[in-house]
């Protein structure tokens, strides 16, 4: 059974704010839900399935269902960190295909700028925690482990990683809501302060409040809506972990989630007109591009040169909203915003300066958790309504 064509994204909404000191977490979830429903031309009473990740306030999706007054026949609170929302699309499509749902709401919201930092990896009940947390593994420290090893094995440089930030920042200047709307240069990135060597401050994504939501519907519902919709063509997901101590930090779970998504969609990397690539750090993008098959393993550093990632005419236009690196990374979880910009591209609703002409097929990829230890990976391939 394939989900190809079984579901359509009919509504998408990104919270316009990046700092939200005056609202509750539940309120932001509800605001983005209302925004996506309005975008689709639907209302709360139409929703029969609700998806959120483990960070939504309360018991799975039930507390937020209560807050929003949803009457549901399907809930899913799959938690794979920032990749959750991309996994949710695949799960929603499968539920729709199985007849368990027809209008699914997916929400993400977070207020990390006002809450205590969750960038500290300590104090969990995970079995690995006593063997890792006492050594001070910050999120940037962990990703720096991947960056240094990639540099060691493949000769990747800080300047090559910086090209990824540069492309994102060039896109962000066209996004009036972007957290960092000013273009930066390679020199500015490599001269920004070291956070965890070899990663500089500008190798890191922004920390933002906010969120986003998606409405995934059945073909029957999509047909009746007065809105251009985006077809779900394929999805793949794969956790990656430390493999009993046989650690390899030079690749991500995209090595497995990507091929699964491409196979279901019946397309290959060369068919992708636009890609939203998870960008918690520049190294996250570099390894993911390789793992998704846009270039050979180890050649990512060369691939990103010469404006390859810059829209509209680069080899692989990516993250045209400015991505997590320059626009938005709400709740420290970037999977939702990856899908939102892919939907804009396929609806010709990206900023004209970065709209990929006639974009037919887009990919959105999410990473969750920590690349060198335990990560979620989820890939979704989307197409225009008639793809």
């Amino acid at each position: 059974m394939s989900i190809r064509g079984a579901a359509f994204i009919a509504g998408a909404y990104e919270h316009p704010k990046r700092v939200i000191p005056d609202k509750s977490l539940g309120q932001v979830h509800a605001e983005v839900a209302a925004g996506a429903l309005a975008d689709a031309g639907l209302s709360f009473s139409d929703v029969d399935a609700y998806f959120c990740a483990g960070d939504a306030p309360g018991l799975g999706g039930i507390s937020m269902a209560d807050y929003m007054g949803l009457k549901l026949r399907y809930t899913d609170s799959t938690e794979t960190g920032g990749s959750s929302y991309i996994a949710h699309i695949g799960h929603a499509a499968a539920a729709i295909k199985a007849g368990k749902a027809s209008i699914a709401l997916i929400t993400l919201a977070g207020l990390p700028r006002q809450m205590s930092s969750n960038l500290v990896m300590e104090g969990s009940e995970a079995p690995e925690d006593p063997f890792e947390a006492p050594f001070g593994p910050t999120v940037h420290g962990l990703y720096a482990l991947a960056a240094r090893r990639h540099m060691y094995e493949f000769g990747t440089t800080s300047e090559q990683l910086a090209e990824i930030k540069v492309a994102a920042s060039i896109h962000a200047q066209y996004n009036p809501n972007a957290m960092l709307p000013k273009p930066v240069t390679v020199e500015e990135v490599v001269n920004s302060p070291m956070v965890s060597d070899p990663l500089h401050r500008l190798d890191c994504c922004v920390v933002t409040d906010g969120g986003g939501a998606l409405i995934v519907v059945s073909p029957e519902v999509a047909r009746d809506l007065n809105r251009s919709v985006v077809k779900v063509l394929g999805h793949g997901e794969a956790p990656k972990h430390t493999n009993g101590g046989k650690v390899d930090v030079t690749f991500t779970g995209a090595r497995w989630s990507g091929p699964a998504a491409f196979e279901e969609a019946g397309v290959s990397p060369k068919d992708i007109d636009y890609a939203s690539i998870y960008d918690s750090f520049t190294i996250t993008v570099l390894e993911t591009i390789e793992d998704l098959g846009f270039c050979e393993k180890g050649k990512g550093g060369e691939f990103v040169l010469d404006g390859a990632l810059q829209a509209p005419f680069g080899k692989l236009p990516f993250n045209t909203d400015g991505g997590g690196l320059a626009n938005n990374h709400p709740a420290n979880r970037g999977g939702m915003t990856k899908v939102l910009e892919a939907v804009r591209q396929l609806r010709d609703e990206a900023h004209p300066a970065v709209q990929v002409p006639n974009a037919q097929i887009a990919l959105a990829h999410g990473t969750g958790g920590s690349l060198p230890t335990r990560m979620g990976a989820a890939t979704v391939i989307l197409g225009r309504e008639d793809a």
Binding site: S117, P127, P130, G136, T138, D197, T242, G244, G245
Partner: protein, 139 residues
């Protein structure tokens, strides 16, 4: 020359499954888990072999030596490490096979390289446990 910072020693949570491991750290021994069914050594230690699913596993004392697989130099830590830095977070590949997350200490962080040989040192915590960290050994 940039000397690595003196580190805090946060206490790990100790449970019945891994208490022998922590007891060994108090005696200056780094032990890992060995599977009698498939012969693999794994990390972090657990009863179930993650490679073959057998529970016929036992403790194995290591020589406490290894090689740096990769490392990061964090300028300023968070949480228990708040304000501490620079310090080195690293994956060390033990000579017995598994790669573990740890710190490299007593080092010039600017001179550290992937592939450097290191040896274990234990730092006592407030709990009945010591943290296995590593320091460079003369090449």
């Amino acid at each position: 020359m940039t000397e690595s910072a003196v580190l805090p020693n946060p206490a790990p949570a100790i449970d019945p499954e891994t208490k022998p491991y922590w007891d060994a750290t108090l005696e200056g021994k780094l032990i890992i888990r060995h599977c009698n069914a498939c012969g693999e050594n794994h990390w972090y230690p657990r009863t179930l072999c993650p490679f073959c699913g057998s529970v016929d596993t036992e403790w194995l004392e290591t020589a406490g030596k290894g090689t740096i697989y990769t490392f990061a130099i964090t300028r300023k830590g968070l949480g228990h490490y708040g304000g501490v830095g620079p310090y080195v977070l690293a994956f060390v590949a033990l000579d017995e096979g598994p790669t573990m997350l740890t710190n490299i200490i007593e080092c010039d962080v600017d001179a550290l390289r992937i592939g450097d040989r290191v040896e274990v040192v234990f730092h006592k915590t407030e709990a009945e446990a010591a943290l296995p960290r590593f320091r460079p050994v003369a090449q």
